[in-house]
Amino acid sequence: MQLGSNPHNLFPGQQENEEVLLITRPHWMVFLGKIIFWMIFVGILFLADWAIANYAPILNTEPHVNWINLLKNIYLMFLILGLLILWVMYYLNLQIITNERVVDVTQTSLLHHTVSELHLSNIEDVTAETKGLLGTFLDYGNVYVQTAAETTRFVFDRVPNPAAVEKLILDLYEALPPDQKGE
């Protein structure tokens, strides 16, 4: 989580004097889980090396070793590509809270980028949810923002310290002038 900074050009509709209060991404544990899944494919490489050494040592001799090395190189290239995509998808998904609105930047796929903005006055309800063993001990979970806008619900997906995020949004809503609140 990043608090109290004022970077520019975070999202298309950002105003010059708009204060960015929070930038948050899913908890690092979410990314770690995907990395662990990626490590399974790395393990396959080592498993193949072990299997060849023990059950097919002839594959480590000429001319077969060139085929094996070629396949391993190509496999490694796609492994690195997979790691890059995992990190890019994690890095490009973020939520921003400013003194005027809540912004959800979602990268659904590499070529599918969505920016949803919700003005604070359209907020109807905010709910913080922490569930599961890891969520409880590492303090991450979902924050649901019920709105009166076209997008009826914003979701802060598995963000760190969801209670603090909820409090921040509610405090900002309460700080709005009465004529701007959707009551």
Binding site: I74, M77, I80
Partner: protein, 73 residues
């Protein structure tokens, strides 16, 4: 003077398959890097990751080419 080395059908097919695979890898990589550079918040971080990735990919590609040329039918 380099002697002419005729290629076999197997070598041609292998080379074709290899380069089609590499083109697919390159296209997918470029899309990922484009998304990172286009939508990434920190341009410095995005450039660093891009350069690092290209160096690693180039090294693996060079190793793959070496192995490809070492294969004889």
């Amino acid at each position: 003077m380099n002697a002419y080395q005729p290629t076999s059908l197997g070598t041609t097919i292998l080379t074709l398959v290899f380069y089609i695979t590499i083109i697919g890898f390159a296209i997918y990589s470029l899309i990922a890097l484009y998304a990172l550079l286009r939508f990434g918040r920190s341009k410095i971080l995005s450039m660093t990751i891009t350069i690092l990735y290209l160096i690693i990919a180039a090294g693996l590609y060079a190793a793959a080419i070496t192995n490809l040329h070492a294969i004889r039918f």
